[in-house]
Symmetry: C2
Subunit: 148 residues, 2 copies
């Protein structure tokens, strides 16, 4: 197998993991959504604090987020780019949620997502994730209404 | 050379690039700070818009940022983690700036930084970067005063 073939397989595997994750989010299944996350993952998330350390902390946050919605969760991953090597890979994309909160607000929001993978014991695992919105310099407000 | 030796060398090379970048920022040298950035880098930055596409756009933004300060720029990279494979690598860290703006405000701010590298033509190049602060859910304000 050439390096290019190996990297194409890696990219294919990671795209499948991201599709699985998107399906799991739509199904409100936090455990499935985080199936490829390493136990010691370090996540920079949309909201405070600065960092979430470890899979348990990331799962608690995801459960909280999923349970804030009522009814169907529209979730989309756009402009996905995957760079895969032998045992290290990363992705970036623009992610979108369109859903209604339990208190009746509609959330229609895009954010930037980066996921970083390490192949450990033959399995791609997310050891680092980074999700964010930028902010508007004058007001200091998070930019929650940007569209790609 | 074993895989572990190769990865240790990769990690060492990337730590050196990040030290060089930090020095260049303190020296207000945007070109040097971006010496390892690929021409087609895609950057998610602290402030709007959602994404900066290409090295020219990233450099313009960095020049703008550097020229907003007066006097010395304190810049620190903390908790740097580097995961390096054969030709793909990523890093994450908490970055800190402490400086005075031209209009007299003191900026003392921490943010989350992720950099993703691809080794192209034998040279590590940043093809994706992601810098952000989280936001505070109730107010929608960017969290500009968090400390690690």
């Amino acid at each position: 197998m050439t390096t290019a073939q190996r990297d194409a397989i890696g990219e294919h595997e990671i795209r499948a993991l991201i599709q699985d994750k998107a399906k799991a989010i739509r199904a409100r299944d936090a455990a499935a959504a985080l199936a490829s996350y390493a136990p010691d993952v370090l996540s920079f998330d949309l909201i405070e604090p600065l960092q979430y350390i470890g899979a348990a902390s990331v799962r608690e946050r995801l459960n909280q987020w999923l349970s804030s919605f009522e009814g169907p969760i529209g979730f989309e991953v756009r402009d996905l780019s995957v760079t895969a090597g032998q045992d290290v890979a990363f992705t970036h994309s623009l992610n979108h949620v369109d859903a209604k909160t339990r208190d009746g607000r509609r959330i229609d929001m895009w954010w930037r997502a980066t996921e970083c993978y390490h192949k450990l014991n033959g399995r791609w695992q997310v050891t680092h994730a980074h999700s964010s919105v930028p902010f508007e310099m004058e007001s200091g407000q998070a930019s929650l209404a940007l569209k790609p």
